[in-house]
Amino acid sequence: MELDPRRRRIRDEIGHHIDELETELRAGGMSAEDARAEAARRFGDTGSVERATRGAIPTPAGGWSRVPDAVAQDVRYAVRQLVGRPLVSALTIATIVVGVAATVVVFSVVHAVVLRPLPFPEPDRVMQVNQTSPQGRDYSVSEPNFVDFRARQGSFVEMAAMGFATVTLEEGGEAVAVEGMRVSDTFFSLLGLSPTVGRAFLPEEDRFGAATQVAILSEAAWTRRFGGSEEILGRTILVDGRALEVVGIAPTDRAWPGVEIFTPLAPDPDQYRDDQRLMAVGRLAPGVTMDVAQRDMDRIAADLSNEYPNSNDGWGARVAPVRDWLVGDRLTRLGTLLLGVVGVFLLMACASVSNLLLARASARLEEMGVRTALGAARRRIVGQLVTEGALLALVGGGLAVALAGPALGVVRALGPNDVARLAEATVDGSVLLVATAAAVGTVLLAGLAPSLLLIRRGVFTSLRSGTRSSSRSGRRVRDGLVVAQYALTVTVLLSAGLLTRSFLELQSVDLGFDPSGVVRFAVRLPNAAYDQGAREDFLLRLGAELEAIPGVEAVGATTASPFSRWRPSNFVARSDREPDRQEDFVPVSWRAVTGDYFAAAGIPLLAGRVFGPEDRGRRGQDVANPPVVIDEGLAAELFPDGENPVGRLVTWFLPGGRQCEIVGVVASARDERMDALPRPRIYRPFTFSSWEEPSVLVRTAGDPAELVPAIRRAVSAVDPSVPTIAPAPIEDDVRASVAWPRFSMQVLVVFGLIALTLAAMGIYGVTAFSVARRRPEIGLRVALGAEPAELRWMVVRAALRLAVLGIAIGVAASFAVTGLMASILYDVSATDPATFLIVPGVLALVAIASSWLPARRALAVEPRSALVSE
């Protein structure tokens, strides 16, 4: 029989041992035979010694081939550990789940809304071109100016412009309002959104007055409205009463969700140069930088200023990455803030998990010490900790990802819906990557402290001198973690506090108008069928229909309803002090409204009168001094001395422009942005400007939502081909305008409360631990007759010391951090004293409360049992 070398070696060693025994016995005088028998007897069963020796080393090869075995053993042990202490395990896992799920949800939201690259190829090369007013504000581009920019530029591969408009689509005899976009022929190829079916617009289709009537559908509209059949190509659809041939289907839904129909822009070179309604974009030519393009646009703007001084004097151009427009500065800031907070939050979770693991580790120190003494290799102990950590990460991370999906659904449902890309927030690959990194990172970071403690000190000291010294160093680490937790909690809670204060300020803002009981909707009255006078006639008839509905108190129309995306601007000046240059005019926000608009919107009249039937005129008909109504903000700006503005003249738009007579002054309405003082406002009669899609406001004494069916009936009674567009209570618009502040506040408050809970748990754990450790001492003091109050205070004081240290560090750090929040706070200083007093105070109270319980328990200690247990 062939033996392996190890077995032979063991046999040889045993044989030699027996030999030596035998020799010794014979030297003692025994006969050779007796000596052999006695040696064999003394040695005992050679077979069992051989087996035991072989078994001393698991498998002969050693090294890596033993790993799977060891891992299996570690996993079994780790599972036993987790199951054996269900409360601690549940807490640890819950903390990981909350931390990781929060990270995943926030990351996927921020990713979808802010971080995800724009849905175009090479988005960084796509620039937005704005016109800039003499005052340096950004404006859109007017049609003739765009034509000139596009024709004269030398730094872009191509330029394209787009104008948003709701259009009426007639389908099966029913008129529906859908989002549309007028775009240049270059739009699709420039943005890399070329039609997947059919073709893009031809250059000749984009020429003003082109005879061809074509349209392109978005993929979503094509699937939803036309069943995704290619037969749609070449068919005609009725858009705003015109028959348009569908020539292509374009993948635009990610970039512009909701936009369904594209029509050629065909810009009118003779349109007003100061009617800025187009978004202009360009793709940088190879090798051209943004600065070069900026200089190019500066040059063209300067030329246009000279050529068209009436409209373009002093106007410049600004080139900016298109990202700034599509994402927005505030969103980016909010996103950064949320990511920062969730990062801090994850650190908190790390500290909590670390603390819980440490608590467990302390309990296990002794056992670990025994294991090393028994010869468990150091790497096995590390392996054990790693396995346990991996198990925690796996269970916690898995649960977190499973939870993140539903949580994201809640966020999508509750979050602001004005940011369409929020709907894109999903748990996808990159989000899973973040989740994995967060879970693994948490456990690694959290496992670091206990591992170091166990390996560096614990193992070697625990047997030498019991568990005392090792738990002392463990306690120091745990104290440090609690301090860190409090510091982090303070920063999260302070941010949450500031945002909450800011939001409450926003909620209590005096809007200057009364949104309750008001429904708004829009009607589309296309230029092809209506001029502004015909529109006013339509609206008068509609007003009569609506006022017949019981409960309706007032009906008014405006070019832009409160908080709509239209914020038209212009310039005015006092005619008696008219400056020579437009840049010295007052920039204003303006609306063209019917006389009843003020009553419908609930804007109080302060002086003079509102528009009446006497002001009604046809567009183009010259009235000597057309009437205007101004708000108190503009009144204060134009007449700072408090003179009565009624009856005075203001000049519209430009030096030498039309002089208008102020007939009334109304209250300032905060109807564009809630978080900013309203811009000075001027109202002109509804017939002043051509607006295809006026909004109607209906004030009712009853529930505005219940009015909607009656409104739809009234509109179709006046003209069945006119759709009622998006009827909704204005209070919804008011709410939506603060959706992001509300959302970020809610997120921070939720984070803050969880952080507070974690911090409370942390200090409770540390206090309970130290009370347990000091049981003998406390027992002794009780036995010696110490005052209970004094003892309780002794315990609470120790906890409070940690909390106060953490709070101080956190407050100091917050002063640095909250400064970054200043731009998203409304009417609250980033170092708001109230917030900076209340939050630390609340935290200190929480610290006292959460150490009170263990302190009380300490006093319940039986003096005798405490002393005996030592």
Partner: protein, 110 residues
């Protein structure tokens, strides 16, 4: 005259390492050395000795090779490695701590 003592559990490795710390010994020699140093009051079971030797060699505390004995026989000789010396020191320290504690407690007044 039975003044034999039992091996304190967990100390065998330490004793074996001490035995081979000065010079290389084979298994039989180790057992004899321990017996002679303790005046035959402590003896080592072969069934525990050889597994311990192999295990400690696997850990890298001991190393071994075949040598000829004085009488010319082939035997496996064990020596302490540097790592083994460190381990021996650590165990001695730990042992002394425990022994001190036990003695301190047992000598104390009740």
């Amino acid at each position: 005259m039975d003044d034999r003592v039992d091996l304190v559990p967990g100390t065998l490795d330490m004793l074996v390492m001490k035995a081979v710390s000065a010079e290389a010994l084979h298994g039989f020699g180790i057992a004899r050395w321990i017996e002679s140093v303790t005046g035959d009051r402590l003896s080592v079971e072969e069934g525990a000795l050889y597994p311990a030797l192999h295990r400690m060699e696997d850990r890298g505390w001991l190393t071994s090779d075949w040598q000829r004995t004085d009488r010319g026989r082939r035997a496996r000789y064990y020596r302490l490695t540097t790592e083994g010396a460190r381990e021996l020191e650590a165990r001695r320290e730990r042992w002394e701590g425990s022994a001190w504690a036990v003695r301190r407690i047992m000598d104390g007044e009740v």
